[in-house]
Amino acid sequence: MDKTLVYAEMCSEANEDLHTLERSEKWEAGDFYCVTISSGPIVLVLGDAEDEPYEMYHPIWMLRQDQLQDIMLPDEAVSIDIMQLLEKFFDWLNETDNRGKRSMEQLWLAFVMNKKFNKDWNGEKWILLTST
């Protein structure tokens, strides 16, 4: 899991868009999140869904690869859906400049943001791609 601040920043900036997609507002055990405390930002894992992160710390949900893939998959996905999604992901990797993306999580988040919102990461924020 990418626990870097770069990825936390990418997730934070994507938060508004991702919230327009279907996902229960409820936190789930195994969710990764970043909070900033007095000593600085730290990444934590939610052990139990009952122990929600304190909202006062403005937790940033850091999506795992499976959570990003779920966004792209139909409910009850079967083998063919998974294989097709992987093919699409490979095609996208081939046609996109992904230099600077340092983890599979960063790549999958960029893929989701591109396919769902037509946006690309410019190093600071997600910008809308203009059609040529």
């Binding site: 899991m1 055990a29 939610l46 009952e50 795992r64 893939q69 490979f90 993306k101 599979m104 790549l107």
Partner: protein, 142 residues
């Protein structure tokens, strides 16, 4: 996250479990997703986040406890990618290129372990690192 019985069976092999057993004591807390059987609940698997292992027992974040022998680590994709990554390179594309080459050689019709990303990455990792493939029942040396 895949918590199906097939993924649990595929993960429950000496190669994968040994990695976890050698790492959990020094890993960051809550890094490992595990399953365990509850003997009072028809032996059904339950999922939890591993917390600690005092004297050969385990404890999960949701309060479950039991014997260490009864717990199985089910790796996340990122953890499998860490195992499968044999070079020092920090570019994720490096591993992905090898993964892609392997992926396009998956036979058609696709085997039953192609229904989740976790199973696919586990199959890739087992072949790349341990030269084994899943025959539907267990890992066989190729």
């Amino acid at each position: 996250m895949d918590t199906t019985n097939l993924y649990i069976r595929m993960s429950d092999c000496p190669e994968i479990q040994a990695i976890w057993l050698s790492q959990f004591a020094i890993a960051e807390v809550y890094d490992y997703c595990v399953v365990y059987r509850d003997s009072q609940d028809d032996g059904k698997y339950h999922t939890g986040i591993f917390v600690e292992s005092p004297s050969n027992t385990f404890k999960t974040a949701n309060g479950a406890k039991g014997k260490m022998n009864d717990v199985i680590w089910i790796p996340r994709q990122g953890q499998l990618q860490k195992i499968a990554n044999t070079c020092d390179c920090t570019d994720p594309m490096c591993l992905h290129l090898d993964f892609h080459k392997w992926f396009i050689a998956i036979p058609n019709p696709a085997p039953d372990w192609t229904d989740t990303f976790e199973k696919i990455w586990l199959a890739f990792t087992m072949q790349r690192i341990y030269n084994k493939e899943w025959d539907g029942e267990k890992w066989q040396t190729i």
